[in-house]
């Protein structure tokens, strides 16, 4: 085969362009490898939001050797905005059931904290979405992370190029952080699961509504820096009614009938992606975080409860993310 000068130039240009795009992810940009040897994920069946979630969750938590005795447990739901009838937010009944479970496991205190990314009036979102009444009834403290005291926090990875973020004291001082995402397709990041859910700890008062700097620094890169810096200790993902299509706000409700528990956010998100009919290796922040934060490979995940079968029809996504669909 002969290679002309023109072929060579085109090939070189393509190689250079490819290297420019992929190079940022080839060099390690994390400070330490925190992957556990093995991770555990439990998939639980739950067809509807009901008082029985308490029981389902208690059963699921028994799969994990969690010790929260004497600890402050922070539940971080995905509470973005409120649109009547839309499956945008982690359901308050699941949050209440989680709080009750951790109290029973001996937690010193359980609080719920979130910094909504779209709506500045956090109390309005709380009241419209049913959280305010539920939390008040159960005497669970809520902290608005958009307004909390801030601490300058050096980042423990350098995917964005930022050296630090100002992060809420309540998050940094909690002993056990539980990310509670709503399982959703997302028009900018492909999926929004336990790791993307951590955008909510970035304070709006300091970074705006939406937290636009994270978009400009790269959503995937920001997820990696944030999750490297603020460890997620446990995941309880709400997939009872999930969202597909134009998420995180304007997608369609997609009943999935699942709750996913995990002791590793990377394993949780890889599993949720499979449940959505996506190939997790094609989601940049999942693939990259599997190099230093957790395990995405099924071979390294102890799967308990239900199996992580892909659905008959994968979750719909905006056209840019159709490549996520597993073949």
């Amino acid at each position: 085969m002969s290679v002309t000068r023109r072929d060579f130039l085109i090939g070189s240009a393509a190689l250079a362009a490819g290297a420019t795009v992929t190079a940022p992810f080839l060099l390690p940009k994390y400070h330490s490898d925190r992957r556990p040897k093995r991770s555990r994920v439990a998939i639980l069946n739950a067809q509807q939001y009901s008082q029985q979630l308490d029981q389902i969750l208690a059963t699921g938590l028994r799969f994990f050797p969690i010790d929260v005795r004497g600890k402050t447990v922070l539940l971080k739901p995905n509470l973005v905005d409120y649109i009547p009838g839309d499956a945008i937010n982690t359901h308050p009944l699941l949050v209440l059931a989680s709080a009750e479970s951790f109290r029973r496991l001996g937690a010193k205190s359980v609080l719920v904290a979130e910094g909504p990314g779209h709506q500045r009036d956090t109390q309005l979102v709380l009241s419209q979405s049913g959280y305010q009444q539920s939390l008040s009834d159960e005497k669970i403290r809520f902290v608005d992370l958009n307004r909390d005291e801030l601490i300058r926090t050096p980042l423990r990875a350098s995917y964005t190029g930022m050296t630090h973020l100002w992060l809420p004291r309540t998050v940094l001082e909690s002993d056990f952080l539980v990310s509670m995402p709503k399982i959703k397709a997302h028009h900018w990041s492909g999926v929004t699961l336990s790791m993307k859910n951590m955008f909510g700890v970035v304070p709006g008062a300091r970074y705006g509504w939406p937290k636009n700097i994270l978009h400009w620094k790269g959503i995937q890169e920001s997820i990696l820096d944030l999750c490297a810096t603020v460890p997620v200790n446990f995941v309880i993902a709400d997939g009872i009614v999930a969202m597909e299509g134009n998420g995180p706000l304007n997608g369609s409700a997609r009943p999935l009938g699942k709750i996913v528990l995990a002791d590793d956010p990377v394993a949780a998100d890889a599993t949720c992606s499979r449940l959505m009919g996506f190939e997790p290796d094609r989601i940049v922040h999942i693939r990259e975080s599997a190099r230093f934060l957790g395990n995405a490979s099924p071979a390294l995940i102890d799967q308990v409860g239900e199996t992580a079968n892909a659905p008959a029809a994968p979750f719909q996504v905006v056209s840019e993310f159709r490549f996520l669909h597993a073949f």
Binding site: R120, Q123, E149, W166, H187, A205, R206, G208, N212
Partner: protein, 309 residues
């Protein structure tokens, strides 16, 4: 102008609570439980207490003057990084009546003039026109970002317009103020939600019209109070009139009262609803507490925002 009588006991109780939350440094924290002073709650509180017989307004103004960044901007809180942010417009308005603060205000206004949403730059304009078109907006119409190096958003643009509109003249290096204000107004009109009102600034994303927010709408309407006849402004007012009676959150309800009063709409029943909300005095968020006071004293509040009726 709408006429509403506020129970003076309610207002004085809230003012006393607000005064009590003032920190020894002169500023206020965002949350009652916090001791970290911040600029936004300090500005709202200073605007409220400017004419009240409680609180130490001088210490509040000193705090604001002390915390200004060398580049003329204000940080979100003392100790923050020094590139400055959206609270600069609030700080400038909070120091409006203070003669010794004129140099600081001018520096703040110059910083505001230098702060441009990224779509004001030709390169990003080109990108938004060609490669990045999922959010529908006209990049020729730009305003102010929350923080430098990001695009324009509704709330920081509206507050910047309100601050710049308080300038008595466009001189002394501020000749381009009318141009920036006009561009900002165009930007607000461009970013409105198709069904009326505003959210943070994304009216249509991936072809889907997004929902407006009451507080963002109200703040935009305050900045557009001199464009009351524009159809987009009227749509915004109609949206706010529809949604305001359903609001039970004091932050949004207070902003709605201020905006509807600025657009000469009846607010008596909203005022009653606000006063009737439970536990106003124990609102944890000091921004909200101060804003409730502003809404209860709405005529003065509109004047401090430079809105003339």
């Amino acid at each position: 102008m709408p006429t509403v009588t506020t129970d003076p006991i309610v207002l004085s109780t809230l003012l006393a609570e607000l005064a009590q939350r003032q920190l020894p440094c002169g500023g206020w924290a965002a949350l009652a439980s916090s001791s970290q002073p911040a600029i936004e709650p300090t500005c709202y509180s200073a605007l409220v207490l400017g004419s009240a017989p409680v609180g130490d307004i001088e210490r509040a103004q000193d705090f604001l003057l002390r915390t200004q960044n060398p580049n003329g901007s204000w940080p979100v809180f003392p100790g923050d990084d020094q590139e400055g942010g959206w609270v600069t417009s609030l700080a400038v308005m909070s120091l409006f009546d203070l003669v010794p603060a004129i140099p600081a205000r001018l520096k703040g206004l110059h910083w505001l003039m230098s702060c441009v949403g990224r779509e004001g730059n030709w390169f990003w304009k080109w990108k938004f026109r060609t490669a990045d078109r999922h959010v529908r907006f006209d990049p020729d119409k730009f305003g102010w970002p929350w923080f430098p190096d990001t695009v324009s958003w509704v709330v920081p643009t509206a507050f910047s317009i309100l601050a710049l509109n308080q300038l008595p003249c466009s001189c002394g290096g501020l000749e381009k103020v009318p141009f920036r204000v006009e561009r900002g107004v165009e930007m607000l009109l461009d970013r409105a939600c198709p069904g009326g009102g505003w959210n943070a600034g994304n009216g249509v994303v991936y072809g889907t019209a997004l929902e407006p927010h009451p507080d963002d709408t109200a703040i935009a309407l305050l900045a557009l109070s001199d464009r009351a006849q524009h159809s987009i402004v009227q749509n915004g007012v109609q949206y706010l009139e529809r949604v305001a009676p359903t609001l039970t959150a004091p932050w949004s309800l207070s902003w709605a009262i201020l905006a509807l009063a600025a657009h000469l709409r009846p607010i008596t029943s909203l005022h009653r609803s606000l006063v009737a909300l439970p536990d106003l005095v124990s609102i944890d968020d000091t921004n909200t507490l101060a804003l409730v006071c502003l809404a209860l004293d709405f005529q003065r509040a509109l004047s401090v925002f430079g809105v003339t009726l």
